[in-house]
């Protein structure tokens, strides 16, 4: 593979000089982002189909076979609509907010390992990078709520930001035992350390906490309080229309795929097969299967459970999940010490 790309590199360096590494990185980023955006659009289709069948409906079936062209039709519709900007809004912040919601969801993909070689940037602080970038997502929500100049949007954004921050704490603490078992912050090392046993076996309760918290962090049902339509119209994106609304939508789905991927990498062994016998199937297939399963559970939950109340949500995060994950950090430390695996 490296030899095949050599002529391109030589040509690029001849044409662009010292700017070539920058351009080459851009190309790699595009190769990574395009499939992610494709998956995002088809996740919306999958959601409508799966929830449709769960509720004994058919779901979209008019545009293309099985409604397969529906996402394209939706995208065209969103692009053709007029972007409305409310009179009392802060225009710059109002238009920046949706971009700031979508961008962090795409930035994190840089450190996701698809196979031992296929990884854009194998940072030695991978896990910290994930936490740092995903903490930026709440800014888009807060900015959109404030800039809309509407009470519904402001209340929705405050709720949503508080929810995101609270559950980030829980997610952060579930990652610490994973790091302790690995002894490294690189996501590639996290997967390689699961060669003998997936992290889900010693850390089963933490996987549950991670998954429920990530449902809450992505503002999905049953924790979709920011857009509780009965009380807040549509929450923080009440005033948005056309593609600025579409970007919030894309951000939400990109985040869903992202947290599912991270769940698969951190707890389900990433690209590793469940038993060594099945190693002839390529690692990327295993990873995609695991991501697909977790995404299905996301949709399944949405079709099954009623919405939580806000105070119940906060109690669950701070008074249930946080103590359990703190206890598990302690237990992991003690176990590692007793097994003599502490450096």
């Amino acid at each position: 593979m490296a030899e095949l790309l050599q002529p391109i590199h030589t040509l690029g360096e001849a044409w662009f000089g010292f700017l070539w590494p920058l351009l080459w990185t851009l190309v790699k980023v595009m190769v990574l982002i395009a499939p992610v955006m494709f998956c995002v659009t088809y996740l919306t289709w999958a959601e409508r189909k799966i929830i449709g069948y769960m509720q004994v409906r058919i779901g979209p079936n008019r545009v293309g076979i099985f409604g397969l062209l529906q996402p394209l039709a939706d995208a065209v519709k969103l692009f053709c609509k007029e972007t409305l900007i409310p009179l009392h809004s802060d225009k710059v912040v109002f238009l920046l907010a949706p971009i700031l919601t979508l961008v962090p969801a795409l930035l994190v993909w840089a450190v996701v390992p698809f196979s031992p070689e296929l990884i854009l940037a194998d940072l030695n602080i991978g896990v910290l990078y994930v936490l740092a970038i995903s903490s930026m997502g709440a800014y888009g929500i807060l900015m959109s709520g404030w800039a809309s100049g509407s009470r519904y949007a402001l209340l929705g954004s405050l709720r949503s930001a508080a929810q995101t921050i609270s559950y980030e704490v829980a997610v952060g603490f579930t990652l610490i035992p994973v790091i302790m078992l690995t002894g490294s912050l690189s996501l590639r090392d996290v997967v390689l350390a699961q060669q003998d046993m997936w992290n889900i076996i010693p850390l089963l309760p933490l996987f549950g906490i991670y998954f429920i918290s990530s449902v809450a962090e992505t503002n999905r049902a049953p924790f979709d309080l920011p857009e509780a339509e009965a009380e807040l119209v549509a929450g923080f994106f009440t005033e948005y229309s056309a593609m600025s609304f579409g970007m919030f939508f894309l951000g939400e789905y990109a985040n869903m795929i992202l947290v599912s991927t991270l769940g698969a990498v951190l707890f389900l062994g990433g690209w590793l097969p469940p038993v060594p016998m099945l190693a002839f199937i390529p690692g990327i297939v295993w990873l995609l299967l695991k991501i697909g399963f977790l995404l299905f559970v996301f949709l399944w939950i949405r079709a099954t459970f009623p919405r939580y109340r806000y105070d119940q949500l906060m109690r669950l995060g701070w008074k249930v999940f946080l103590p359990i994950s703190l206890l598990w950090v302690f237990l992991t430390g003690v176990t590692l010490h007793l097994l003599g695996r502490v450096a």
Partner: protein, 200 residues
């Protein structure tokens, strides 16, 4: 590659300086906080260029993810009269100039007194391990007491804030899960026999 690193440095340094200037000059306090966030982000990018990626990640997590977020919450919820704010600024101008001048004087003295050595520009370059494990080693051995004591101080501050603000209010309805679960049919349902035609 060095040219590229220089280019990236000047880009982020320019953004950082403009954002920092904007924090103190823009009129709207919410814009001020947002520019502060931009300044934090640019400075963390500069840390990455120095090879201090752990500090960069912590800067983003703590200052952008927590501190500036709280600022933003508070500033957004305040109903600020911008005219009043500007009038106050004019009254405090002499004091502001005095404090600013003093800080500038101190900075000049400090920079004049220290000879900057470019060979120390990349403090993380000579380390055997990644700087995460190196910082961890120092933090939990040499500086264990300052580290633990400062975390205790933060914990005390946290508990203090909760004790000062959390109080039982009589006008607030709270859910008690124990009471709900312990409720039986006898407490919840009352059967009444209403004579025909007498019911309200």
């Amino acid at each position: 590659m060095d040219m590229l690193a220089d280019l990236v440095f000047y880009l982020f340094a320019a953004v950082l300086l403009m954002a920092a200037l904007g924090v103190v000059t823009v009129r709207n306090p919410v814009h001020s906080v947002l520019l502060l966030v931009l300044a934090f982000f640019s400075s963390s990018a500069l840390f990455v260029l120095l090879g201090a990626e752990f500090l960069a990640a912590i800067l983003v997590m703590v200052y952008m993810g927590a501190v500036a977020m709280l600022f933003l919450f508070v500033v957004m919820m305040l109903d600020i009269d911008f005219d009043l704010l500007r009038r106050g600024a004019r009254d405090h101008l002499p004091v502001g100039i005095a404090v600013g001048g003093l800080v500038l004087f101190e900075l000049v003295v400090l920079v004049a007194g220290v000879r900057l050595d470019p060979s120390h520009a990349h403090p993380g370059a000579g380390l055997a391990h990644s700087n995460v494990s190196e910082i961890g080693r120092v933090l939990y051995s040499t500086y264990i007491y300052p580290f633990e004591i400062s975390s205790i101080i933060l914990l005390v501050a946290l508990v203090g804030a909760v004790v000062l603000t959390a109080r039982k209010r009589s006008d607030q309805k709270r859910q008690s899960i124990c009471e709900q679960v312990a409720r039986t049919r006898d407490q919840a349902v009352e059967l009444k026999k209403v004579a025909s035609g007498q019911g309200a």
